[in-house]
Symmetry: C2
Subunit: 349 residues, 2 copies
């Protein structure tokens, strides 16, 4: 069941829980804000729902609360940091801001982070770039949870790829994992007794299926676009490890440090007004987005939108009516805020 809880109440509850888990005041404030914003933007799977797992990882020693990004090397427009297995969110925010600073100086800026932990919602950092007025992209590598095309066992991470377009009328932000559906989404459909809108993986007989439970059983989630999502996932993995001189996905599969333990993350920012005025560039973007949004819908009452536009609407509703939270998750998070750190992660369904 879904409830709506005021943003500030959600954030304050998460904040208390994270203080209980050992975060500093500053760390807790930042992480609580990001987790709550993710839920407020409609990405509960990596917002509130991940709080219990984050606490669990800290307790298991998989996240080093004292870890901070340490400069390994720098050349021109690129910096390389070791995340020291610190908090994924604070490490990634730091690197996003460094990429923006490098872009201010060099036109483009790239930060390659290694040895960090789960950054939660991938889009957080692209949204941050866009809201700071910068274009950019970011991606990660991670442990294997998706079969490569042509295989029936997990062989590559479901690595997200994000792109940011700064727009005064609302950023356009792509936040795209490489599978057609996240495992979290399969669970949502299964619990609701529904079939997926399109095939999302393979059943035990190797047939494509829209039955979420059958896919969870085989772990054969479908790469988006079949061979395309598979190919992009492995190349993102290689690129991240190469750029950051960090772990490749299979190193993480072997290390048993939870999801994304020791992963690489790449942040590239770009100054959008290098070669055109702000007016010129913004007019161009607005014109293109308006053209996309006004293309003929495929059914009566349908509406085409660009990535991120619906997010702005969801966020706006969350701020007015409260953040939508799953009741069972909310009880867990409240329990953590009350000091009960032994809460089991049920969010990974």
């Amino acid at each position: 069941m879904s409830l709506r809880i005021p943003f500030d109440t959600v954030k304050e509850t998460v904040r208390k829980g994270l203080i209980n888990a050992g975060l500093s005041e500053e760390q807790a404030e930042i992480c609580a804000t990001i987790h709550t914003q993710s839920s407020a933007d409609g990405v509960e799977s990596h917002g509130l729902n991940r709080v219990p797992r984050f606490v669990e990882y800290i307790q298991k020693g998989w996240i080093n609360l004292a870890g901070k990004p340490e400069l390994v090397g720098a050349k021109g427009a690129v910096e390389n940091y070791d995340g020291q297995l610190g908090i994924g969110i604070t490490n990634a925010l730091f690197c996003t801001d460094r990429a923006i600073a490098l872009a201010k100086e060099h036109g483009i800026g790239c930060v390659a982070l290694r040895n960090t932990t789960h950054w939660m919602r991938g889009g957080t950092y692209a949204w941050r770039m866009a809201e700071a007025g910068f274009a950019g992209m970011s991606w990660i590598n991670s442990e294997s949870c998706m079969p490569l095309w042509g295989s029936d066992v997990p062989g590559v991470g479901n690595n997200p790829f994000c792109m940011a377009i700064p727009r005064e009328d609302g950023p356009i932000v792509l936040d795209m994992a490489m599978s057609q559906y996240a495992y979290g989404k399969l669970g949502v459909y299964r619990l609701a007794g529904k079939q997926l809108p399109y095939p999302g993986g393979f059943d035990k007989d190797g047939n494509l299926t829209s039955d979420p439970g059958a896919i969870e059983a085989t772990m054969r989630i479908l790469p988006a676009g079949y061979w395309k999502g598979s190919g992009m996932a492995i190349v993102l993995d290689l690129a991240a490890a190469l750029m950051a001189n960090g772990k490749v996905g299979t190193d993480m599969s072997a290390s048993e440090m939870g999801s994304c333990g020791g992963c690489c993350q790449i942040f590239i920012a770009y100054d959008p007004y290098l070669f055109g005025t702000k007016e010129e560039i913004q007019e161009k973007l607005n014109r293109r987005v308006a053209a996309a949004d006004s293309t003929h819908p495929d059914h009566e009452g349908g509406r085409v939108t660009c990535p991120g536009e619906r997010t702005v609407a969801v966020r706006s509703r969350s701020m007015k009516e409260g953040v939508a939270v799953d009741e069972a998750i909310w009880e867990q998070v409240c329990s953590i805020a009350e000091g009960n750190l032994g809460v089991k992660d049920i969010a990974s369904f």
Copy 2:
């Protein structure tokens, strides 16, 4: 029907044809090499098959043979060029090499090219980066030929996105358009009387179908991963126009300058040995590729490969046994080489 013609014969024939079409010796040599290499790599659709259309575009005045990349502006690690509607291949090669030069100096290098023409095979430039020992990526924007998700009319370009991983044991190169199947592929299946392996678009009743002819009739090709390929296509369009201060896709749809007339192209190169030794990085890449290639296949005798690995095998066979060419296309190209420039483009089926 498919023939195999020696590489040098194909290249020399294309070269003669391009001289007839008005290219300089140097331009013809470069373009003939790239077109032939694309066919030799198994990408006939953008190799030999595109020669008649390239000649047609020149005759229509859509390509300016005197056009060369002209520096518009530069800041730090970024350069912006105006392609002056010159030859897409030579413009893009120039910009690839500039991106590599900038990466040598700044760690990362970005060239944003505007007002250029069709670059033919997208992967050409990522392959070039990888073969020069650099990582990188490239993409373009183009006129609308694919419906956005939720629409039933073309609303976005089928923009390719490419990534390069330099590897001494063979580059890994992603070369991925945003639709599940190219129009060219639909034609190949239709002519062979075959159904597509997976649904590739919508029929006139709005149902997903694997019938290539039904999709050609509606022009409702399917974005790879449904909403995912659609979202990425529009964001690539916006990013390219923003970075290069050039046309957005819908400007090209309106301009009637052929496919990609006046488009933007982005080239980002990255020095792979900034933070790790060559040995270290190459070992990492080899280890990850080997792990991917040895994952359990989903059927007896199956084999998993990373993007680009099969290309190397196809290329090797082409060099030994000759380049596979379609007989009808080969006749066209020979005719152009003999001076008959009036050949109609049949390659766009």
